[in-house]
């Protein structure tokens, strides 16, 4: 290893220039912007202090967005685990066609969001969609459901998102499962443990840490998800029944052109995530101390 600081910095310079100029600077500028009234295009701006934050504290639309965001992130997170963990356990077993299936499971994650949303809108189409056809034929419902109407739009969004993102849970969990020493399972089997007990007493303790990371990352990413939510309903009509915080921030900035208010929403989102992450770490540590 050479002690040549200049060369090191020079090699890093392009990366640092991009990250500094296009991420760090915007973050700071965003915080400053949130204290101003500013039109998205025009240069005029006036300092308003914390007025935007006070406004949102009493803004019904903000609290609705917060609620929808928590419902969306929470339910998609839980369902991704419910679907992803058994899938990973399955793909960790030896059987014919396993490698092919490992590839197929990744498809939903690899196809672009725009395709996933269009495809599910077609599957969930009220008159001609396959889902309604199957439900009616099977006698589960008597009349087709309006999946993309106001009553079910959140369900449809959750369904689409879970389908799109559960492969991440599969791949990450599977990667960890593969590193569990087989001796642990052999010992448990010799002791006469059932599959369920082996899962509870070997697999789960071994994969605690990766589950911790999966839940953390996926919750953050679902809470800040913009494209899937926005594409599902656009801006008009039923979109207000799934308007999460990212979509609300977008609407404030680029539809109402209130850049200052949009910036304040971005700061609020950031603080919420920071607090949630801190609490999450604390709870997890406590549990570990108890165990």
């Amino acid at each position: 290893m050479r002690k040549n600081a200049l060369a090191g910095w020079l090699l890093l310079a392009p990366a640092l220039a991009l990250l500094g100029g296009l991420v760090l600077f915007p973050i700071i500028y965003n915080a400053w912007l949130s204290l101003h009234d500013k039109h998205a295009f025009l240069t005029v701006q006036t300092f308003v202090g914390l007025r935007h934050y006070v406004y949102f504290a009493h803004d019904e639309e903000f609290w609705n967005s917060f609620y929808y965001g928590v419902v969306y992130a929470g339910s998609t997170m839980a369902l991704q685990l419910v679907l992803g963990i058994p899938a990973a356990l399955l793909l960790n077993e030896a059987f014919r066609g396993r490698n092919l299936l490992r590839g197929v499971v990744l498809f939903p994650y690899v196809i672009p969001t725009i395709v996933a949303v269009m495809l599910w809108k077609w599957l969930l189409n009220d008159s001609y969609g396959l889902v309604n056809h199957l439900l009616v034929t099977a006698g589960v419902v008597r009349v087709p459901l309006a999946w993309l109407g106001k009553d079910y739009i959140m369900w449809s969004l959750v369904l689409t998102s879970v389908w799109q993102f559960f492969p991440f849970v599969v791949v990450t969990y599977l990667a960890r499962l593969q590193t569990i020493p087989p001796e642990l399972y052999e010992a448990a089997t010799v002791d006469g443990a059932t599959a369920w007990r082996r899962f509870m007493h070997v697999t789960l303790p071994q994969t605690r840490n990766v589950l911790f990371v999966i839940v953390l990352l996926r919750s953050i990413w679902m809470f800040t998800k913009f494209d899937t939510v926005w594409l599902m309903a656009g801006e008009g009509g039923v979109s207000r029944y799934i308007r999460t915080l990212p979509v609300y921030a977008y609407a404030r900035s680029f539809t109402y052109l209130q850049a200052g208010m949009g910036a304040a929403l971005a700061v609020i989102m950031f603080v919420l995530l920071l607090v949630a992450t801190a609490v999450y770490f604390r709870v997890f540590r406590q549990e570990e101390a108890l165990a």
Binding site: R2, K3, A5, A7, G8, L11, L12, P14, A15, L16, L18, L19, L22, V23, L24, F25, P26, I27, Y29, L33, A40, L83, E93, L101, G103, V104, V105, F107, P108, V110, I111, P112, T113, I114, V115, M118, L119, L123, Y128, L130, H133, W163, F168, V171, T172, A175, V213, I220, W221, T224, F226, D227, L231, A249, Y250, S253, G262, A263, A266, M269
Partner: protein
Amino acid sequence: MRRRGAGRAAALYGGGLALLLVGAFPLFWMVSTSLKPSGEIFATPPRLIPAHPTLENFRRLLADTSFLTFFKNSVIVSFTTVALTLVVSALGAYGLTRFSFAGRDKVAGLILLTYMFAPIMIIIPFYILVRLLGIANTRLALVLSYTTFCLPFCLWLLRAFFQSIPLELEEAALVDGADRGRAVWHVVLPLALPGLIAAAIFTFILAYNDFLFALVLISSDELKTLPVGVNDLFNATIVDWGMIMAAGVMITAPAVAFFVAVQRYLIQGWGAGGVKG
């Protein structure tokens, strides 16, 4: 014992079949719909496999819409982003692993921190900045934003790969009279190839998939990339499902092809750092 084995096999194949349906059936339905003439698309009961398959939906998509323009833009932007990201992150990762300087680990930590910011949290100042720089509504703006958002992950990934390459190999090449550039080109980069490929896939998928930056930064139709362009098609008139599903097939094909071609390298990359999305 035998009965348990049979039960286990039934459970495995039952679960496997269910997983296959969940993962692949929606895509199968997309392909099937894209090949149906319009009468069949709205038929009840729906047919799994088109009775009279046709490429008419694809023909309409290519002839009557700007799909090919969007496609061209997506390809240009994605590949430029991959090239730029690989160069910038490989240089940076090499600097971080082969030279020691004060604050090196702090810089690496700070770079990782920027990974935690979702685009939606900085899109507003980003947009204002891009307008100030005079590059709003250009492909360059898209390339720069995607490169920046892929950098933290790619830098960390390549840093891990470079760290695992023994310094002695490089020094041996230098002793043999190769200059530094040649040593890197012939020794370090080939050994880091799986990492470079994983970084390329990650970057390509992110750039090819992005909706938010393309929505905000691009205003003219001839510069739009696939996600925004196709969403416009979808919203424009009464939805032509056959054509939209044909568009879905055409958008998915390059992503899946790229992915399948280099998939085995991806698992290593995934192990090293995870993929965002």
